[in-house]
Subunit: 314 residues, 2 copies
């Protein structure tokens, strides 16, 4: 396998420069351990787990793989400090933090000997992450599912600018889901790719079957960036999406919008399979993906297509 850089595979001690994104309700022990066993970095998405559940999930993942595992901590949730403590207690050494300031926990985690990665959506924020002492950044484009930046920079224009702005390794995210998009992201200067939707659409993710089946037939234009003023998030345009958009258009206050959002809508949609009333996060790349393989088969197919793509340039 020819990869242009080994900075990320060396940093995480993984075989392939592929990161399975930490996603709420979707990336538990089963997905993280399967990803790790397939040679990628597996990440437990702590955002949707209370500390006890997170502890149980970390223990379970460690039982199922002897490879490195990481935890993603969205810093916008109150439980973040507790989640970090649980992960440290359970021996997690790689942390992906997002949705908050990289200054908040980086020093504490580095002092404990951990590797820290922060998610960013602009060259300016990437520089702030570097200044805060992180080991690498995830640069996530406009096409990515779930929470997103305000600048609307796409992966194509974001990655080379972040690569130019910082001296630490850059992990590309947003719009990556097959061997071609992986090759493209590495050509842009990324040292690795992070994929969310592609890993969500596997047998091992904990997305509900209803949701997985919907994603198989979903087109790229079925998603839209929503709640741009409050917290930009890319969603499938279902009934809940219409509801929240109408409320926003009608001038609902931040508090009212948070109230609609907070009714366990993400769990209802992605974990419990209510495709109408639930919140369904997905990236634009869902339009390219039409199958639900095992993680091992998906990674195998993706790497074969990646090699095939490179061979075209010879």
């Amino acid at each position: 396998m020819n990869f242009p850089s080994s900075t990320i595979t060396d940093l995480f001690k993984i075989k392939y420069p592929i990161i399975q994104a930490g996603m709420i309700w979707v990336s538990g022990a089963k997905l993280a351990s399967a990803s790790a066993n397939a040679g990628c970095l597996g990440i437990l998405g702590a955002g949707s787990m209370k500390p006890d559940l997170l502890r149980e999930q970390i223990k379970s993942a460690i039982r199922d793989t002897d490879r490195p595992l990481a935890v993603n901590i969205p810093l916008l949730y109150e439980l973040a400090p507790e989640q970090i403590q649980v992960a440290l207690d359970e021996g997690i050494k790689i942390f992906f933090t997002s949705a908050g300031s990289p200054k908040k926990f980086t020093t504490k985690l580095k002092d404990q000997g951990c590797t820290v990665v922060h998610v960013t959506s602009s060259p300016e924020l990437a520089l702030k992450c570097q200044d805060a002492g992180v080991d690498a950044v995830v640069a996530e484009g406009f096409e990515a599912g779930g929470h997103n930046g305000r600048d609307e920079l796409t992966t194509m224009v974001l990655i080379p600018q972040v690569v130019d702005a910082v001296s630490i390794p850059v992990i590309a995210a947003g719009g990556i889901g097959d061997g071609r998009t992986m090759a493209a992201a590495l050509a842009l200067g990324a040292s690795a790719v992070q994929m969310g939707t592609r890993f969500m659409m596997t047998g091992e993710s904990s997305a509900h079957k209803n949701y997985k089946d919907l994603l198989v037939s979903t087109k790229s234009n079925s998603t839209q960036l929503s709640l741009k003023e409050l917290v930009p998030v890319r969603l499938i345009k279902n009934h809940f999406f219409q509801l929240i958009n109408k409320a926003e258009e009608a001038g609902a206050s931040k508090e009212e919008l948070i109230k609609i959002l907070s009714k366990g809508r993400a769990k209802m949609g992605m974990f419990e399979g209510d495709l109408s009333e639930g919140e369904l996060e997905a990236g634009q790349i869902c339009g390219l993906i039409n199958d639900l393989p095992s993680v091992a088969d998906m990674v195998k197919g993706l790497l074969a297509e990646y090699q095939q793509t490179l061979s075209l340039f010879k």
Copy 2:
């Protein structure tokens, strides 16, 4: 030079799979002939030219190069049929049509022995272009400057889906401006790249000096997709942008918005250099580009960086 496909270089009889986009007020005879002489396809942007001026510009471009030249005809303007006739009269054999139905002129142009390319922004529209008989499509992502699609699909997710949907060659546009982004676009399956902002930011483009100087220091987040309901267009966020956005937010009718747009604002901004009151079209990639070289030097540098990018995968 290793390019994964020769379908576009063969189709247009050009050296490199690089297309200089047809842009209103910016791509006249000087830019098109310089692009052609540098081994790319040079395109005259007819959208901002009355038929007599277009005739003069085609004659002038042909005087300055013996390489193939093309004309871009935005079909939303009334003068499109006349512009096409002028181009045919002057011996133009390659037409890029955009902003309208590919069914409108493709058969007529093909009957005259011309090569026809239509600009699209979704896999579904690309299929319609193929059905209309075009020779190739330009697939243009959300990050592109100027007129844009409604689906907001980025180049990263759009190109592989269009490549999978059609059997004709695909030219990638949107977010391409250096050797890395070119390599990425070709990895996605495109047979060539089309660049607008990068060619606008050269000595030979007819963009006003004020505008070129502004672009050198402009960041990617200085642009935004505007007028999403009427005709989505990516603009620099200047005073005119605020004006049109406020009018739209205040519920201005389509007619009122067209009235504001039609006051020669694009000419005022891009051609006459009024950076406050004029309409300034640019792609997100402007943030990556910080120089104003000659076309020949720009192409040379871009190809060197492209080769350098490929060498990283060996």
